[in-house]
Symmetry: C2
Subunit: 187 residues, 2 copies
């Protein structure tokens, strides 16, 4: 079954938003790239912001799905999975299409905390943090919440250092630090 026009639109928008940013990507470029008519877009979405929100939702789904599979396929032991987070991160960062975290970027362009787009970005981080907390709990960390938050800091920091400063080995540095923190959390 062919993807619906709506899905195709969201996929195309997602790609362009990640590559060029939100403000820099005009409606017309999305339409030209996807071959969809303008009226079709506005039949499915009330505004560009709604399209952005749909793209963020899809990205959140895809990313977390990929991430959880990547972590869990790399290690069975819960404690090893906490480190596998950074192996997955390294794979992502090293990929050809890496262009930073879409949600960090969205928060940058829609800075006010009450903007629905910013709220969606915050929710994404909340969900990823919840997953890391699950891993930490399963591993039996003394303070799973604290450990999860610390590992999140390393992960987000690695994304930033890789994207902004071009540090290709950021995830490897993060993994080394994570091992120290994990060891300490179980000592």
């Amino acid at each position: 079954m062919a993807p619906s026009r709506r899905d195709h639109l969201v996929d195309t928008a997602l790609e362009l938003f990640i590559r060029d940013g939100f403000h820099a990507t005009g409606i017309d470029k999305i339409l030209a790239e996807s071959g969809v008519a303008k009226m079709t877009l506005y039949k499915h979405f009330k505004s560009k912001d709604e399209l952005i929100l749909s793209a963020l939702r899809r990205r959140d789904e895809h990313f977390r799905n990929w991430f959880m599979r990547a972590v869990e396929s790399r290690a069975q032991a819960p404690r090893q999975r906490l480190l596998a987070i950074f192996d997955a991160l390294d794979e992502w960062i090293g990929g050809r299409d890496f262009n930073g975290c879409m949600f960090i970027n969205a928060s940058a362009e829609f800075a006010r905390a009450d903007n629905p787009i910013h709220v969606a970005a915050a929710e994404h981080l909340r969900l990823v943090l919840a997953y890391v907390r699950e891993l930490a709990t399963a591993a039996g960390a003394r303070d799973a919440e604290a450990l999860a938050r610390e590992l999140m800091l390393l992960a987000e920091g690695a994304i930033v250092m890789a994207h902004v400063a071009g540090q290709a080995d950021a995830a490897k540095n993060a993994r080394r630090a994570a091992r120290t923190l994990v060891d300490h959390a179980f000592a």
Copy 2:
């Protein structure tokens, strides 16, 4: 001596760029806010991008100046200064005007690595990292480069978690993790 029109322009632009972002801040808004004429702007800057670059340079100067003073006024012992980084960070994040890191935001809006604005953002992180490395070296860490990079990850991660997810205590979590990493680096 009154600040020059040029300086006033850069200061106003800086404020608006931090608050609303780069693409979302039009030339006209900067002019209206600063009370400067358009021709004056284009006498001093060839383009908006040049104004952005000037704003980034000023921000880099101001921020690193503030940051180094904030760290060094909080602790004398080099090893304590490594932790004071996160106390300074906490003060910044808790401030009323905190709106994320301007350089992370710039890299988000100007995503291509060869864009001069992106390059300027990368340079800022490089300089901050160099300072942290100095602190780590002065403290006599076994591997100052590695420790500095790890602490940078925590710092950038804290900025992201605070701005995107609204985690007001991100710097405190980062400080806790930093203590573990620092202790480990001297063990």
